[in-house]
Amino acid sequence: MPRLHELQRAFASAIVEGKGLPSVTSLQGGPSWRSLALYRRLIRHNYIQALTITYPVLHRLIGGHYFGVFARGYLKRYPSTSGDLFAYGQHFPLFLRQLESPRLLIELARLEWVCHELHQAADSPLPSQEWVKTLATVDPSSVTFRLNPAVRLLRCALPVHRVWHALQPEADGDGIDGLSQSSEEGGLLVTRAGGKIHVRSLSPKQWWLLQAVRDRKTVAEVECMASEFMPDLNLAQFLTGLSDPATGPVFSLEVHT
């Protein structure tokens, strides 16, 4: 094994496992533990900062001290595997679940990871109401729905969107109106528009329909499902409501010739 690789491995072991590193000297030729302690501190600080940026609401909710405890534990179990720190917190919700953390924290972390991903997701096509005209002129079985890239559907066990909204920096401080899941809440629609993330609660029917959109059903299939299970629903109105430019276009249509 090349000497350079051996040295780098020894350094990594010294940082991770607290082993000594006889191949280095510290300040004024002093023992290596001084240097290694400083590196450990700097490295840990970088990761905690990265997680804080990815999970700002969770950080606000539980405070810096407890967040730091979780972050240090996460670093031990899920070390970074990329030079790009954007991906570093990917397993944080799973880690919280493995710790059997309160359900609220796990669900909030899931929502925040989705928000984080959306910040850099591909841009969606410009919102347009042209789809209504398109539908009028083509065979609905030849048109497929497509969820836009800067859109996610998230099924949550708790209405964490209320916590998420209440803890935004610009929130009015009204607090959180309970955490029991209402029967009218079926899941969350998370979108990006104008550089901002928008989180909306969906009714069970909306959730169900948007799942069909996500699953790339044809317009004919969605119409059929809607008429069978939701005869009261005005599909066109529902879809129009999803295309609010302020919160970002949710879907586009692909016409297959």
């Binding site: 090349p2 000497r3 350079l4 690789h5 040295l7 780098q8 491995r9 350094f11 990594a12 940082i15 991770v16 590193l21 006889p22 191949s23 280095v24 000297t25 510290s26 300040l27 004024q28 290596s32 001084r34 240097s35 290694l36 400083l38 590196y39 501190r41 700097l42 490295i43 970088n46 990761y47 990265a50 070390p79 970074s80 595997t81 990329s82 030079g83 790009d84 720190l85 954007f86 570093y88 959306l118 910040h119 850099q120 997701a121 591909a122 841009d123 890239p149 800067a150 990006r192 550089g195």
Partner: protein, 281 residues
Amino acid sequence: MSQLVATPIPAHAGIGLRSQHYREILEEPPPVAWMEAHPENYFGEGGAPLRILERVRSQYPLSFHGVGLSLGATDPIDSTHLRKLKALLDRFQPTFVSEHLSWSSVDGRFFNDLLPLPYTEESLNHVCARIDEVQTELQRSILIENVTRYLTWRDSTIPEGEFMAEVVRRTGCGILLDLNNLYVNAVNFHLDPVKFMDAIQPDAVQEIHLAGFDHVGRWLVDTHGQAVYPEVWSLYEWALHHFGPRPTLIEWDTNLPPLAVLLEQASQANAMLGACYATPA
């Protein structure tokens, strides 16, 4: 965005593009000659960061300063990282692309920090091969930056300045000279920064970084969280007379102040660059 071509960066001061200043920079583009961005912050497929970078690029030449390539590592270079970097270069045509003479990963585990290399013949051969690989893939030369270190490898046999000079000679890359790093190392390890600067080829130095450090226990630590210290300004003055005027970045990453503070530091650098132009070598 129309097809861009890389524009020369004049030997004036620039600032780092940081998300906390996005709004201010877009509303009133500051009077600086160029900006530096970390490419990793723009690796996404879309979203506001890329749109903002497009707007900034339409008004300023850019320098891309990478932090994640782990040039000195013995693991294979991350081809995805390199591919994303190449795509960004093609799109934004920065004038300079730089990385650090350091390593960050081993056996697939990343530390996301700039860890020091032992300065040995083996490291030299290894780093030169890696820089060749990167330059071939990117189809352009890169700059390499001297890093701060908080330890000394007993294996090291080559002084850092000579090591860098040899890397430049073998690979044709340039140097991003970080004077704060040089100063921090000099104080922590009782080294002579002038010796380092004497060892490197003046023509290879294409960009200079100035930043602030913190005192942590007995260490000076390169935090990029303070204004440039007087001792580093003095070193800068020496470097300008030795190398001639160079594009100079005010680098500030943590404890980020208002944009006006960065601009004031940039003005100070510009004043020294102006004095350097006015004084024949």
